[in-house]
Point group: C2
Chain length 368, copies 2
């Protein structure tokens, strides 16, 4: 089995390379002063350094639960399991469902696909359309697998957001077949227009809803979570504690301190949305100006812009040339089960500044 | 599959209960002021909040490598993989060797045994004697399994330390059969007299040496590591990054800052050794005074005191009574593959003060 293209790239590139590859948040937006204050308060109590319980500290689970409840999705701390990033949430669920079949979107998040392979889940890909998966294909697949992994908000890699109609169709199909939905939501808060309702909210007993502070706050704390029915949380706990006993208590206490001021977090989220919205617009404009042969839609949220040159260009071959000129992106074939080269590209637009965006696109254009 | 007795106990007990159960370090010994200074320095650079590479930040891997090299075990940062506690190190290796057979000590660390079960490793238990495993039994088992998990220094739960002779025998057997040793070393630095050489130092190509800052510094950073041949590190990296992308970068940068002053860390280690030595002596003395029917040796390092009432007492039944009187320990049967009740007990002596130690032992005595 091969390592993730993105993780290998992160190790290989130097500081001069313009990277549109990883899903890195903008460092300029980290609320460093507020986090410093939260840290200084949290470390007044030496318990922040000790072992803690496997499911995560009560305060943080309560705060996360409250955010769901405020959005109309009734949740208590017993529904929450803190994980070491939402990557670990996916790993735990893949281990829980190992050797089973699973319905996924195509294209889909390659990190999740690697996890599924590692735990011997057989993936059945369903075509992703502009408003979500193709429902007929999805129903046919889900009838057999009874398990699905979806990223309904600003999907990785495609930036697709599911329509309300398709969300309701998914609910009906999961219920009818008494299966499980894994709803991965790392980007849901990063909307430029409005937030869509979680599909899991209508499937409280049959869903695992995955969240993370990596994209909305900082990645290095490695704090994500799973929201699920209490019995399901109890079932997956043995896997969580086998993997790392518990996620960093240090990170958890600092986060819980930071989140006490809800208004501050909301203000921070709005700053990210505004900044990313501007960058998405600029990236899209520059693509249209410099490289109009790359067809795409301007994203409505999240961290990625996806598009295609059409079948004439092999973007996997192209990225090797781009690397020499010190610019990098993720070729679209990485997000498909069979990885057959195609003309698609995923661009991350959040981690570069305007100058780098323009320069990077020009460098790619020069490799065509 | 059942959850770990210790993890369940940690969730169930209240603050009034005297716990001799978990492997909790003493909170009084956390170097909170030095860690605060390291934290404040580290967070001056916003990169501490960003994603980092999967194997761990260079600075920390170099510092860990240097400690091995200084002890005569030549090591570079390429031999080190940072893990989310050494619990995750074990999980990664169990996943790497899934479905294989493995030779373990009996008794052994129950967290490791749970991980092996979860990854379908078939455990073959070898009797642990006062100076290490029974070599004849070990050789017979290892010839078949070609894989072993050992805790040679201040073993968990038995506090046993391997003699130099048995360490050399293990080296010969692993080499002759071209198998692998997983050497778990969370307690090696917590010696009261002297440090023993790592078995892995004579098996650099055929060993995974596991270390951790959880017992020597603080557990909540969740930082441990695997030291292995570079090719082996590359092979297990795919599992590491699938599980959680990377361990907390925030913790790693703070640790790297703290470890810059080697003398400070050494002084801290000596303080822990002195404190734990006093507590081990006191625990042993109080046992002899209050409950002389419990046979044991005073530990020479680590965090645990192990002994037995003999076959007349079922310590698994006893602990249920003890819980009602608000004192808890881990019954010895938890550390055996078949979990048949026996007269053995593992006491943690590092997390309680003198008053709690005396009171706790008296409470247990009253339940007999």
């Amino acid at each position: 089995m091969k390592r993730s293209f993105i993780r290998e790239i992160l190790e290989a590139i130097d500081e001069e390379t313009i990277s549109f590859a990883g899903g890195l948040p903008s460092e300029n937006l980290f609320p460093t002063q507020d986090l410093k204050e939260a840290t200084l308060k949290a470390i007044e109590n030496p318990k922040v350094y000790q072992y803690t319980i496997s499911n995560g500290i009560n305060e943080l689970r309560e705060q996360i639960a409250l955010r769901y409840t405020n959005e109309g999705f009734a949740t208590t701390k017993e529904n929450i399991l803190i994980t070491t990033g939402s990557q670990q949430a996916m790993y735990i669920l893949a281990k829980f469902f190992e050797n089973k079949d699973i319905t996924i979107e195509e294209p889909s998040y390659l990190g999740a696909m690697n996890i599924f392979r590692l735990n011997n889940l057989k993936m059945d890909g369903v075509k992703l359309e502009d408003d979500g998966v193709n429902i007929e294909e999805f129903e046919k697949s889900f009838k057999k697998t009874k398990l699905t992994y979806l990223i309904p908000d600003f999907q990785n890699p495609s930036a697709t957001t599911y329509s309300l109609e398709k969300r309701d169709e998914i609910v009906k199909i999961v219920e009818k077949n008494d299966g499980y939905l894994i709803e991965d939501s790392p980007y849901s808060e990063l909307f430029f227009d409005k937030k869509m309702p979680y599909i899991s909210a209508k499937l409280p007993k049959n869903s695992f809803h995955l969240g993370s502070f990596s994209k909305t706050l900082v990645p290095s704390y490695r704090i994500g979570w799973i929201r699920a029915d209490e019995k399901l949380i109890q079932s997956i706990m043995i896997i969580k504690e086998s993997i790392d006993l518990h996620s960093s208590g240090f990170s958890q206490y600092i986060l819980a301190e930071y989140l006490k001021d809800e208004a501050k977090y909301e203000k921070h989220l709005q700053e990210i949305r505004d900044d990313y919205n501007k960058k998405a617009s600029y990236f899209s404009e520059q693509l249209n100006l410099i490289m109009p042969e790359f067809k795409h839609e301007k994203p409505k949220g999240g961290m990625f812009l996806y598009g295609t040159f059409g079948q004439g260009v092999d973007t996997f071959a192209l990225v090797q040339e781009c690397l020499k000129k010190k610019v990098v992106y993720v070729p679209g074939n990485q997000f498909y089960i069979d990885k057959v080269p195609n003309g698609e590209i995923r661009f991350n637009y959040t981690h570069s500044n305007f100058e780098q965006i323009e320069k990077g696109i020009k460098l790619i254009k020069s490799c065509l």
